[in-house]
Symmetry: C2
Subunit: 189 residues, 2 copies
């Protein structure tokens, strides 16, 4: 195996273990028993290393989608493809995962699991009340689904906006995401 490939492999292993921002080039080099300069020769910047890993993910995902398009359109096949994509994302989780500054702080200072628990109970109460008041028609499992939706949604809408809607105003962005939430809840009215 070439040094370049060894570096990519070990870097991904370390990133998956502790996250992108927590693993420095020195550590990758040390872990492989090579010098920093050597690593710099193959990947002048840490960025270049990350770019290479991102390209690997992209290629793997594209291949899965191409396979899908070669067959007939079916919900089952689509769900199967999407699961493969998710498996692939998981394989490279260290590249994406929330090991940035803010997540470090939250995990260190808050008991996040109990906050999360509280958060879910909270929405459970809100939706149960809405169902009792006849504002929502909820069957078995619907509440859990809506809770999962809104926790993910409420946490990440702004991150997505910062990526996808760089040119939009605050009002436009919030209107867009409020529209999604309304539509989602509207399915249960």
């Amino acid at each position: 195996m070439k040094t370049k490939d060894k570096i990519l492999k070990e870097a991904l292993r370390l990133f998956n273990e502790r996250g992108l921002s927590q693993v420095g080039v020195r550590e990758i080099a040390r872990s492989l028993d090579i010098s920093v300069g050597n690593l710099s020769y193959h990947f002048p910047k840490k960025e270049d290393l990350i770019m290479e890993l991102l390209s690997q993910i992209r290629m793997a995902n594209d291949a899965r989608y191409e396979e899908y398009f070669e067959g007939r359109a079916s919900l089952g096949r689509f769900l199967g493809t999407f699961r493969q994509i998710m498996e692939n994302q998981y394989r490279y989780r260290g590249v994406f995962l929330g090991h940035d500054e803010i997540n470090q702080v939250i995990k260190k200072h808050f008991d996040y699991l109990s906050i999360e628990e509280k958060r879910r109970k909270f929405f459970h109460r809100i939706y149960t009340d809405l169902a009792k008041a006849g504002e929502l028609k909820l069957a078995e499992g619907d509440i859990e689904f809506l809770i999962s939706f809104i926790t993910l949604f409420g946490r990440f809408w702004m991150m997505e906006a910062s990526i996808s809607f760089t040119d939009k105003s605050k009002e436009e962005i919030i209107d867009h995401y409020m529209g999604l939430l309304k539509k989602q809840l509207g399915l249960f009215v």
Copy 2:
């Protein structure tokens, strides 16, 4: 205004401008014409500063929810409350926003808007085909909704999992999120 409050205010302003990881303590200090040591006196670690901002958000959000619970349960009131929460999150966007290492790299090296565009067209094709094949029943606006759902979902499920399901296995996690996707699409079968 006390130095401590001035620091918090200026830090948030700078974070909103360029993101948490791009603003150092030296810059915050310089911007206020105080010394780094002085800043360190009020907030020994950058973490402490972030924690304080996070607490402010939490308190503001909690207040909104308490107001909601004081009134009667209605969809309209809930949506109104949620919008206020979103406005509040936006006010503190710099604390959360994707200015971590990976986002920097992506924004620098990829034409992200056109990739995003392609991604949406892609899912548009998939869902249109599924509708034509009779696998999904989609009315006006449903496709756009499902696309928005799956782009946000596909990008952030793993981040949420790393926060909420730290004790679960890969299979359990993927099963959970696949369940969400199935349920969502099942609403249009």
